[in-house]
Symmetry: C2
């Protein structure tokens, strides 16, 4: 278990405890990490890869909430497992993912024992809140074309590549709209030379980063 990335902000003694009590788990691309309605018993800390966190509604519509990458953790899981609640969200491995699960008994213990842990947890809570607020902002105030652009940029940031691998259908699901709408908007972007479309792939052109005029 390589916890180097955590050692910059967590105490040495705590890192050792994480080594001892944390449970290392690996998931391959596309694998389901947490499902809606399942009980949560651990809080995950992502070591490698990216985790996609989604919300499903009663009609099985789903919408992307945010991504978790290196050193980030899902504090929603924390607040859930303190009371052994069921998950309100679904998590999927976006690529190959390595994470440590911290059992909930330790979560509480460390909160008092290690100030750096308390800070880490609180920072996580804050980051998740802010992500959710950004998500609300995006849905409530921005049109689909802007949301699509933001989505593609975020994909690029996470993967580090200008080539985004995803079908129009997947994108439509994650933005909670329909495939035809996404195809239409992507085609517009292609016509404006912002992207090039291939099957299951979208290539972002250099001036994708430039501001967009309509």
């Amino acid at each position: 278990m390589n916890l180097d990335q955590l050692s910059s902000f967590l105490e040495t003694a705590l890192i050792q405890e994480i080594q001892e009590f944390g449970i290392l788990q690996t998931f391959s691309e596309g694998e389901l990490i947490m499902d809606y309605g399942k009980y949560i018993r651990m809080m995950p800390i992502v070591l490698k890869g990216t985790v996609k966190v989604l919300r499903l509604d009663e009609n099985n519509n789903e919408i992307l909430l945010y991504y978790l990458s290196s050193s980030e953790s899902c504090s929603m899981a924390y607040s859930c497992c303190v009371e052994a609640k069921k998950s309100e969200v679904k998590a999927i491995a976006e690529d190959d993912v390595e994470l440590i699960g911290i059992p909930h008994t330790k979560l509480d213990e460390w909160l008092c024992k290690y100030p750096s842990w308390k800070n880490y947890v609180m920072r996580s809570f804050n980051e998740r809140f802010i992500e959710l607020l950004k998500s609300i902002e995006s849905i409530a105030f921005h049109k689909l074309d802007e949301r699509l652009i933001a989505y593609l940029k975020e994909k690029k940031r996470l993967s580090g590549s200008s080539v985004i691998k995803a079908s129009h259908n997947t994108i439509a699901d994650e933005l909670a709209t329909s495939r035809v709408v996404i195809s239409r908007l992507l085609k517009q972007l292609e016509n404006n030379k912002k992207i090039i479309l291939y099957r299951n792939e979208i290539k972002l052109m250099p001036d994708f980063e430039l501001p967009f005029e309509k």
Copy 2:
């Protein structure tokens, strides 16, 4: 300071500390409790009345996130003040409000000292997350007419009255749309005998609770 409502789930010794260190604040209807961008130094626990929590975006559009009522607290404030962050939200007194502010030094101290406090805080985190998720769900998956109905129901629940006092403009702001649209939808509801419209008042009819068909 009357903390009876807290004593059912918080330890006696903790209640005493809250008496001692908590700062009682009162706000009258419409008063600003927390503004966007201000530093947060306390976590509020609502004792009386209802607090409306809103999100503003860069263009000063605002949208309703949720309401806080008796015994509830805004854990977003907590995670913020641990790191002395600026507020991401705005809070307004929906009616006359009484709340206790817990200084952030105590927040941390009590976390270790009182298990009931830790549980309360974690429960709050969880409740806020769920409210935000519900908010996302509502905006992403439901049409405006459904959101408006949900909004009116929530208002009724909080006020305990079938007469909702609000202008179309206020409602439009809180649902992040325009006044004309709200007037249109309200008129539809009135035509369907679900509500009666007055100036600054909306009266919900008995079968407002019944399922709606279009």
